[in-house]
């Protein structure tokens, strides 16, 4: 048995808008291993969240996975019945959401919500589940956990709620944890705590983490490997160091250049020119070519393939391919 937790191959997800199907994810493949954090970065609307929802099987009604394969610990998820999927969800893969303020049921105590999954998936008794929940609350650094168990979400701050969400998902000991911008709604100090916590839990439990963010600072802190998405396609993939030190794709370059640098004298922010395409927009060839300073005729015609330039460093760009011939 390999240590691959999640294997996504040639995933295509479409959304139906006004009775027409539009691809939102265009053929994405990636793997996540045990004890590894894979960060997915890209602009809003590039398909990060849709990828996670495809994996979880929680796409909204107008979305559907059209082709490809999603394997969790070697088990194919696509085509599973809702009942089977319900068994896998929570138990083998958990998800943390962006908005901790609204991710907990406002009418139930923290304790109830924490023990619900334990009792359902692991068949624990009330007392066992309670003890486990308390121990996980302590693990995520929540003081007086017994008191907290009796409280309602409205009595807790955003950082606390996010840690409770993490405790809730981790207590089921999933092989895969999907974190959809879990730190975006938190302030920076809390953000740091949550990131450290995720890192520690990952090492303790050998979980694979799929971390969605558009904050490159967060990526640098937490990621082992990075995938850069643009308009539903993977444009670059590599180890964190490779991406930050040697970004090859013009879009990745643009992203990194757009981060304001407080150390330099230059205070100007350099955005990537142009606007992000809507999913309903038809663009031939490379989806990035209308905004790319190096676009050639070939970029307008031909969809670039992801090629490996360094071990583990994949880029889908004609310019990079030609330069490295």
């Amino acid at each position: 048995m390999s240590d691959t937790v999640l294997e996504v191959k040639n995933l295509v997800t479409t959304f139906r808008i006004n009775k027409k199907e539009y691809p939102v994810i265009r053929d994405i493949s990636f793997e996540i291993h045990e004890n590894e954090t894979l960060c997915m970065v890209g602009e809003s609307g590039c398909g990060k969240s849709v990828t996670t929802l495809s994996v979880m099987g929680l796409l909204p009604e107008n979305g559907a996975v059209r082709s490809g394969s999603i394997k969790l610990c070697g088990e194919e998820l696509l085509g599973m019945s809702p009942r089977q999927l319900g068994q896998v969800r929570g138990k083998k893969m958990g998800m943390i959401f962006q908005e901790p303020m609204t991710s907990l049921n406002p009418l139930l105590t923290i304790g109830y919500q924490l023990t619900e999954g334990l009792r359902q998936h692991l068949g624990m008794s009330k007392a066992e589940a309670h003890a486990t929940a308390v121990s996980y609350l302590e693990k995520v650094g929540i003081a007086n956990a017994e008191e907290r168990m009796k409280q309602y979400p409205f009595q807790l701050s955003g950082g606390l709620r996010q840690r409770i969400m993490i405790a809730m998902m981790m207590s089921l000991q999933p092989r895969l944890l999907i974190a959809d911008e879990p730190t975006t709604a938190l302030d920076v100090t809390i953000q740091k705590q949550v990131l450290l916590l995720l890192n520690r839990l990952k090492q303790d439990m050998k979980t694979g983490i799929l971390f969605i963010t558009h904050d490159l600072g967060v990526v640098a802190q937490i990621a082992d490997r990075v995938i850069v998405l643009y308009s539903g396609s993977k444009v670059e993939e590599g180890a964190t160091r490779q991406i930050f030190e040697n970004p090859l794709h013009p879009y990745t370059n643009g992203l990194i250049a757009a981060v304001p640098n407080v150390d330099s004298d230059e205070f100007e922010i350099r955005p990537i020119p142009g606007t992000f395409p809507s999913i309903t927009e038809e663009i031939g060839g490379c989806r990035f070519h209308p905004r790319c300073p190096y676009a050639t005729e070939r970029c307008r015609q031909e969809v670039p393939q992801a090629l490996e330039y360094e071990p583990g460093h994949f880029v889908a760009c004609h310019k990079v391919e030609e330069e490295n011939k």
């Binding site: 929570g90 959401f97 609204t102 991710s103 049921n105 619900e116 359902q120 008191e147 309602y152 969400m165």
Partner: protein, 297 residues
């Protein structure tokens, strides 16, 4: 850490702070208590006729300046008697029991069906159209007409009237609950619960239902008022509670033949219906303000 007062205790506290709502609440509690102990406090058999004391006036006759009127008051018959010499007070109490019971039972039955249908329609888009279009069909009948149709088919009895009224309340419950479910379904915590692998059944009938409960309490209270009006209307038309048994609506129907000689025969049950219905409506309205601020205009 302070202990959080329970949801119900908090709502009651807020309710009692509002004078009007508190008054309605107290009136309804008193009424329900009175109706509960009716078998022990009603002075006479509500169906016993006595030709000797037909149309006896009530206690107000004692304050009349006319000695003949004063003499016509029969001691023990506080609210007087009707055209058959039956005691109005006893009939009012026993009739109230029927009206209120029909109100409660039909609201509960309508609630049960309406909430289930509304939840399913709201949660499953595939069931939405079939269920809601059928509800629309029921909506097209004016309320009392639908009830009359059902009673016409089943025959007139208290149970059939209850059934008819409950069927009539199903569509409006279903519609309100569906709307609420559509809103709750979008909440992040529902997605979070789904990502934990909870079954649909559990999500619908525990998490969603719990969050829809304030709305359900409010519409049930409001519905009580219209159910009571409906049973009174049906009885007035002779399609509700069968004849000798007392009911507010049928008391008015009996009294309308003598409305000039003995107006109290329609005024007394009329006022009883009015107070009950107004109290339920005001209470429902205030509950809505307290429990579900999103419903406020």
């Amino acid at each position: 850490m302070t202990k959080r007062p329970s949801f119900l205790a908090k709502a009651t506290e807020k309710l009692l702070k509002n004078k009007l709502a508190a008054l309605c609440f107290v009136l309804l509690v008193l009424e329900v208590l009175l109706l509960l102990i009716t078998p022990w406090i009603a002075p006479h058999d509500p169906e016993a006729t006595n030709a000797a004391i037909k149309f006896a006036p009530g206690f107000w006759a004692k304050f009349s300046s006319d000695p003949a009127v004063r003499a016509s008051y029969v001691p023990g018959y506080l609210l007087g008697t009707d055209n058959l010499g039956r005691d109005t007070l006893s009939r009012l109490l026993w009739g109230g029991r029927v009206s209120l019971a029909v109100g409660v039972v039909s609201t509960a039955m309508g609630l049960f069906l309406g909430v289930i249908l509304g939840m399913l329609a709201g949660y499953y888009p595939k069931l939405d159209n079939p269920i809601m279009r059928f509800m629309d069909l029921l909506f097209t009948f004016p309320g009392v007409l639908l009830a009359m149709l059902i009673i016409g088919m089943l025959g007139s009895s208290t149970f059939n009237a209850t059934l008819a009224i409950s069927i009539w309340s199903v569509p409006s419950f279903a519609r309100m609950v569906r709307g609420k479910v559509l809103q709750i379904k979008q909440e992040d915590y529902i997605l979070a619960i789904r990502s934990l692998g909870a079954t649909d059944f559990r999500i619908i009938f525990f998490h969603v239902l719990k969050n829809a409960l304030p709305l359900i309490i409010v519409i049930a209270t409001m519905r009580m008022a219209s159910s009571i009006i409906s049973i009174s209307t049906l009885s007035y038309l002779g399609m509700g509670v069968p004849a000798p048994a007392p009911e507010w609506g049928s008391m008015i129907a009996t009294g309308k033949g003598f409305m000039w000689e003995a107006p109290e025969l329609i005024i007394i049950p009329g006022v009883a219906v009015m107070i009950t219905v107004i109290c339920f409506n005001i209470l429902g309205d205030k509950l809505r303000d307290i429990l579900d601020p999103s419903l406020r205009d």
